[in-house]
Symmetry: C2
Subunit: 414 residues, 2 copies
C-alpha cells in the first residue's frame, strides 16, 4: 500500500484540537459548553450588505483576475484611505482569506531554511504555514507582566542570524489582545531597516482596537519597501466563511513574486469578493456597532477575570481575545478537566491551552486564551462557570488563604 | 532593502503568459481576438440554481467545517453514485477549487525530493504546485499519433525510481482532450499496485466525455487504497469563480494527512459551497445541455482543423481542448506572430503554444492547444481566421503543393 508523506505527520496542529473529541463527548452527555476557544464570531454578517449581495446581477461566475476583482481593489483603496494610508489598487492583492496571504508571504519572501522571528505567544497557524514553506519560526518571548508588549531590541538582536528574512507580528494580537504603540512599531522599524528584513504585520483585527486608534504598519513611510500587511474581511464583517483576504505591499518585487503564486491558483473566491465589495459600501455604522459590542465583552471578561483569585492579565486593547495566567500548573490538564470532570449549572467552558501559542517548550503552562465571541449575557454566565471551576479544580495552586480572596498578585506576581 | 525568495523567481508560469501583453496591445489597436487560449467558459452558470442560491436563508457566513459543509458532502455522495461509485461523506473533502486539492495531494503524499510521473503534455499548473511542494515532475511522453493515449508499461517502468510516489493523470485530459479507456486505466492500475504508488486522477472535466461514458478511477475496486481524485465544480457548472473543488479518497491515511492541511486554512469558501450544493439538486438537464453544446463545438473545431493543410490531430474525446500539430517549426513564434503581425477581417486568434505543456525540453514545438470556449458562430469564425493565418504565416513548413491541398499527412505523418 502506498504511504503518506512524512511532512503530513508533523503538521503543527491547533492548540485546542485534542480537546475537540472531549467537547463532543461532554456535549453528548448533555453538558452545555461555553465556547471561549474559537475565533468564530456569533455576530451577524453585515445585514444590509448581505441583502444587496443577493440582488447583484451576474450570470457567469467566472475566474476573477488572480489578484482580485478590479473594482473591489479600487474600493479597498478608499478603505485604507480612512486611516490615512494612500495605496493604489495594484498594491492590494486579494487572497483566499488571510491564511493564503500568510502562505504567499512566506513563499514569496523566504526560501526553505530561512527564518522568521515572531514574538510569542502567537497565532498557532503561523507554524503550519512555516511547515509547508519549509521556514523556521524563531520565537522571541513577550511577557504577560507588561501586557505582552514588543520585546526590546536586544531580545530581537539575539535571534537574528544570516538566515533571518522577516519579523512577523499580529496587531491587534491574537492570542494576547495587545495593540502595539507607535514606539513599539518604531522599534521594529529600526530593526528591520538595520538588518534588511521584511516586517509582516497581520492586521486582520484592525477594526477592533478599543482604547486608541490602531497604528498600522502601512502608516510608517520609512517602511514602504519592508512592510507586508495580511488582511481579511473575516473578523471585520463577521464573514469568516467568505475566505477573502488581502496581501498589501508597496514593494514591487514582493508583489511580482506573490503574483506568480496567485496566478497558479487562478482566482480568489468570486462570490466572497462580490460580497466583500458591497460590504465596504456603507460599513461605518456596522463596524462601529460591532466594535462597541466587542468592547462591552472585553470589559466584562477583563473585569471578571481580574477579580478571580490568582488570575492575572493585562487589559487587552484589541482583537477579541485575552491571554490570562491562572492558578494552575498545567493548562492542558485544566482544559481537559473542564470538559471531562467539571460541571456548573449543567455547563462548562472550553478554553485554548497556553502552550500551543508558544514555540518555546515549557512556556504558557499556566496560561489560557479566552475568545470573547459570546454575547454579553452568555459571557457573564461563562465567567460564573469559570470562576466556579477554578475553585473546584484539584490542581489549583493557590494557598487556601489566597483562594479565599487574599490579594491575588501578592505572592505570585510581585 | 529586503529581497524576495529565490523560489519565487522560478515558479513555472502559464504557457501563454508571455502572450498576454501582446494580446493587450493588439486589442488596444482595435483588433478583435478570438480567445482559444483559456479555460474560462462562456456558458452561463446553472441559472435555476443561481436563482435559488440568491434566496438561501443565512445570516452569519461562518467557517464551514474544514472538510466542507456536511450536507454538501452528503449530496456529493449522490452525485458520485450516478456513475456507480459508492462513497461516504467522509471520503469527500471539499477544497478551494481543484487547485487546492492538487496542492493537498502533493503535500499529503509526497515529501520534498519525491517524484511524480505525469504523461506529457499535461496541465501546466501541476509544475507550479510541484514547485511549491518541492516535488520533482518526471514526464513520460504520450504521442499525438495515437491520440495521446497512455504510454505503455515499459515507458513508465523506465521512469520509476525509489523516489517515485505517484502517477498523475488528467481524465478527460487537458490539454489533449483524450479520454482514457478501461484498458489504459487497468494498465495504470497494475503499475501503481506493483510499485505501491498513488494514482492521482484529475477528473474535473468528467462530465465532458462525448463518445463514451468516462471511466473514473473511483470505479476500480482494486485501487481503493491507491486512488485520489481531484474534482471541481468549475467546469461542470461553468462556475470557475466559485473556487469549490474536492479531493476524493478512500484511503484513510491520506484523508487524515490531507485533513491536517485543510484544518490549517480553516475552511473552503462558504458561499461557493452553498451555491454548489444547490447546483447539484437538479443538474441533469443543465449538464446534458452543456455537454451537447461542447460536443457541437468539438465537432466544429475537429472538422475544420483536420481539413486545414498540414494540420494533424486526433478526435478529442472529452474536456474542451484539442491539441493539434501545425505546419510550423516554432509554435511560440507562431502564437506571437498571430497577435502582432496577423489580422483577418479585423481579428486574430490567441492559442496556447505547445512547449509549455511538456516537461521535456524541445517537445511541442509544432503543437498548440485550442480551447473551444466560444459559441459555435464565433468558433467557426475563429477557424476561418486560423486557416487564413496558416496560409499567411511566413514560417509555414509546407511545400507549396502541400499548402495547395495535397494530402496533408502524406509527407509528414506516414
Amino acid at each position: 500500500m502506498p504511504v503518506v508523506s512524512r511532512r503530513s505527520q508533523t503538521v503543527p496542529l491547533s492548540p485546542f484540537r485534542k480537546l475537540i473529541p472531549l467537547a463532543d463527548r461532554a456535549r453528548a452527555k448533555g453538558k452545555h459548553i461555553y465556547h471561549l476557544n474559537i475565533g468564530q464570531p456569533d455576530i451577524k454578517t453585515h445585514p444590509q450588505a448581505v441583502a444587496r449581495f443577493r440582488e447583484l446581477p451576474w450570470e457567469i461566475l467566472d475566474y476573477s483576475p488572480s489578484n482580485g476583482i478590479d473594482s473591489y481593489r479600487e474600493a479597498l483603496c478608499g478603505y485604507y484611505a480612512r486611516f490615512g494610508v494612500q495605496l493604489t489598487a495594484d498594491e492590494i492583492m486579494v487572497t483566499t482569506g488571510g491564511s493564503e496571504a500568510i502562505l504567499f508571504f512566506m513563499l514569496a519572501c523566504l526560501d526553505p531554511g530561512d527564518e522568521i522571528i515572531i514574538p510569542e505567544p502567537f497565532y498557532a497557524n503561523y507554524n503550519g504555514y512555516a511547515h509547508i514553506a519549509g521556514v523556521t519560526v524563531i520565537p522571541v518571548t513577550s511577557d504577560i507582566s507588561d501586557g505582552f508588549s514588543i520585546p526590546n531590541a536586544e531580545a530581537f538582536a539575539e535571534k537574528i542570524t544570516p538566515r533571518t528574512r522577516a519579523i512577523v507580528i499580529t496587531n491587534p494580537n491574537n492570542p494576547t489582545g495587545a495593540c502595539y504603540s507607535r514606539e513599539e512599531m518604531e522599534l521594529l522599524s529600526a530593526i528591520v531597516r538595520e538588518h534588511d528584513l521584511f516586517l509582516c504585520v497581520d492586521e486582520v483585527y484592525r477594526e477592533f482596537s478599543y482604547d486608541a486608534p490602531l497604528q498600522s504598519v502601512l502608516q510608517l513611510e520609512e517602511l514602504h519597501e519592508h512592510a507586508i500587511v495580511i488582511d481579511s474581511v473575516s473578523k471585520r464583517y463577521s464573514a469568516t466563511g467568505a475566505r477573502v483576504g488581502a496581501l498589501v505591499c508597496r514593494n514591487r518585487s514582493v508583489r511580482e513574486s506573490v503574483d506568480r503564486f496567485a496566478k497558479l491558483r487562478l482566482s480568489p473566491p468570486g462570490l466572497g469578493q462580490r460580497l466583500s465589495e458591497v460590504m465596504l459600501e456603507d460599513d461605518g455604522p456596522y463596524l462601529q456597532e460591532v466594535k462597541e459590542e466587542y468592547q462591552r465583552r472585553r470589559d466584562i471578561v477583563y473585569d471578571r477575570l481580574r477579580q478571580m483569585p490568582g488570575v492575572f492579565l493585562s487589559k487587552p486593547g484589541g482583537a477579541f481575545y485575552c491571554f490570562a495566567r491562572f492558578p494552575i500548573a498545567d493548562s492542558e490538564d485544566f482544559c481537559r478537566w473542564l470538559l471531562e470532570d467539571f460541571e456548573y449549572e449543567g455547563a462548562t467552558v472550553m478554553l485554548s491551552p497556553g502552550p500551543g501559542f508558544y514555540a518555546t517548550p515549557g512556556l504558557g503552562m499556566d496560561e489560557c486564551r479566552i475568545a470573547y465571541v459570546l454575547n454579553t449575557g452568555e459571557l457573564a454566565k461563562s465567567m460564573d462557570c469559570l470562576e466556579a471551576a477554578l475553585s473546584a479544580y484539584p490542581g489549583n495552586t493557590l494557598t487556601p488563604a489566597e483562594a479565599d480572596g487574599a490579594p491575588a498578585g501578592a505572592s505570585r506576581f510581585s
